[in-house]
Amino acid sequence: MSRIPNDTPPHRAGLLDRRWFLKSGLRWSAVAAAAPALALADDALPTTRSPGQPFSNYGQPSPQENRTIRWISANRAVTGNGVSWTPLHDLEGIITPSGLHFERHHNGVPQIDASQHRLAIHGLVKQPLGFSIEHLLRYPMQSRICFVECGGNSNSSWNAEPLQTRAGYLHGLASNSEWTGVPLKLLLDEAGVDPEAEWLVLEAADAIAMNVSLPLAKARHDCLLALYQNGERLRPENGYPLRLIVPGWEGVLNVKWLSRIELAREPVMSRNETGRYTELQPNGRARQFTFVMDVKSLITSPSPGQSLPERGLYPIKGLAWSGHGRIRKVEVSADGGKTWRSAELQGPVLPTSFTRFRIPWVWDGRPAVLQSRATDETGRVQPTRAALVAERGRAGYFHYHAIVSWQVDEDGELHHVYA
């Protein structure tokens, strides 16, 4: 076991002060030095003795990282209907690489010719308008780093028994990008919204012509017509050439391949806001238009599928986010919620964005249950699973955001548990 200096602050189930790594750099170096030394090669590194690979027009991940992939769960009969999950357990920082952003498609990824694509704005407006992508690229743009989370993310956690798979394949229908585009408000003002209008009906150019309703107030407040993701034009599976970004609100509203916006007095009551993306409660009542993704967090490492090779010091790290605003605090427990300690929040802490948290932890070789609990700037606190299930039952399917628990066994293996 790595030795921990005697002057370490009091810890809770092995959780150290969040700044311990920084404050004790020298001592930690001494601890590391006690481990068996890694042998260095006797000869010059081979890569220093021959020319490397040529340039590439578009870089790719190292072939050695080829297991960092989206996990696809698609309909067996309609392969374009399903999801793919972001491997949150393999990623660091707060930005999801565009190629690993989760997918939810209802009937495949349309291959759209951007030069032919049009966005129509009509209905309760003074002047119905059509916009080409070429024209939209000339509008004032804004960038915003924010998450997109499917309303159905984490849905297996409603199951009676915890599903055993990787963290990202349980909770990775959430991803975080820098989105750049035209504030929707500008185009609404250009068309001139009728005072009678209260809703937008959004429609996509995919193979279900996916449509859904969005309150006008949100559309005017902070929605972006995104053309770029992480600095490059949208990828086809993320809505090329145009998608809506609705910061902090459930993924289905962030319509990809956006082609039509109709202003209306009331919601259209489409399939994806009635039969789906609503939550049936035990009393038979259904929650509808549950737009805001509630405060949430999970530990991405260590997490199931990883193992701790020996007792000693490990970084616990994870992600927290809230559709209500910024993350104010993330607490971590290593004893199943009996005691908690605040983790370090890595800046920038942005509203409706992933926030990375970290805290050092000493594993003493005994079974432990690791949990994280996020609080956002509105004071909302991530609930326990027991509290969430007591409030909503287990049949709602959508909007699961309870505390996630990872069990560490004596052999250092990690498992998903309900605690």
Binding site: A77, E190, S270, G284, A286
Partner: protein, 191 residues
């Protein structure tokens, strides 16, 4: 330059824009009004353009196409177009079941179109825009009314010979129409 007039016009516009920018920059108002620089490139859509757009179909029937169909007529369409994924009589398959006879209360509810969906117009609309998934949008208006009638009949909501059309479909009252509470819409149908 072969188009001096155009060049002059551009120059005039540039001078005008610069002057406008100075004027706006001199006030605090300008800083919070990025719309001053909006190019306004939207192209007016004519009534002909609007007629080409796919309609939104609302619960009151707005947007419904003219057409008709009955459950009796819809059975064959369902068997040919829908049963491969949704099973015979909507009992389920790779696309999930459509018709249920279980409760939607309690710990293990069984929501289906007939027991859970609040509006018949939604069923028509989704059939029309999305089904069948191998050829979405391929059903005619009459076929869509007929297959929607078939599903509503399987669910015990309308009779086998009841005709659905753009007038009668919005009058179909689904059993769970009032079963929904709006959560994040201020001032509207809250719990």
């Amino acid at each position: 330059m072969s188009t001096p007039d155009a060049l002059r016009w551009r120059t005039h516009r540039a001078v005008f824009a610069a002057a406008l920018a100075c004027l706006l920059a001199s006030s605090a108002w300008a800083a919070s009004q990025p719309t001053a620089a909006v190019p306004r490139l939207g192209q007016p859509l004519s009534s002909g353009d609007l007629a080409k757009l796919p309609p939104s179909i609302f619960p009151d029937g707005r947007g419904l196409p003219i057409g008709r169909g009955t459950a009796r007529e819809g059975a064959a369409i369902y068997d040919a177009q829908c049963a491969a994924c949704h099973g015979p009589k909507g009992t389920g398959g790779s696309g999930g079941h459509l018709i249920g006879d279980g409760a939607i209360t309690g710990p293990d509810p069984d929501p289906a179109t007939n027991t859970y969906w609040p509006y018949a117009t939604t069923l028509f609309d989704f059939n029309r825009r999305a089904m069948p998934m191998t050829a979405p949008g391929s059903l005619t208006a009459d076929q869509t009314y007929a297959v929607t009638a078939y599903l509503l009949n399987l669910g015990g909501i309308i009779g086998a010979d009841a005709e659905l059309n753009e007038r009668t479909l919005p009058q179909v009252r689904m059993p769970n129409r009032d079963g929904f509470d709006w959560i994040d819409v201020p001032g509207k149908r809250r719990r």
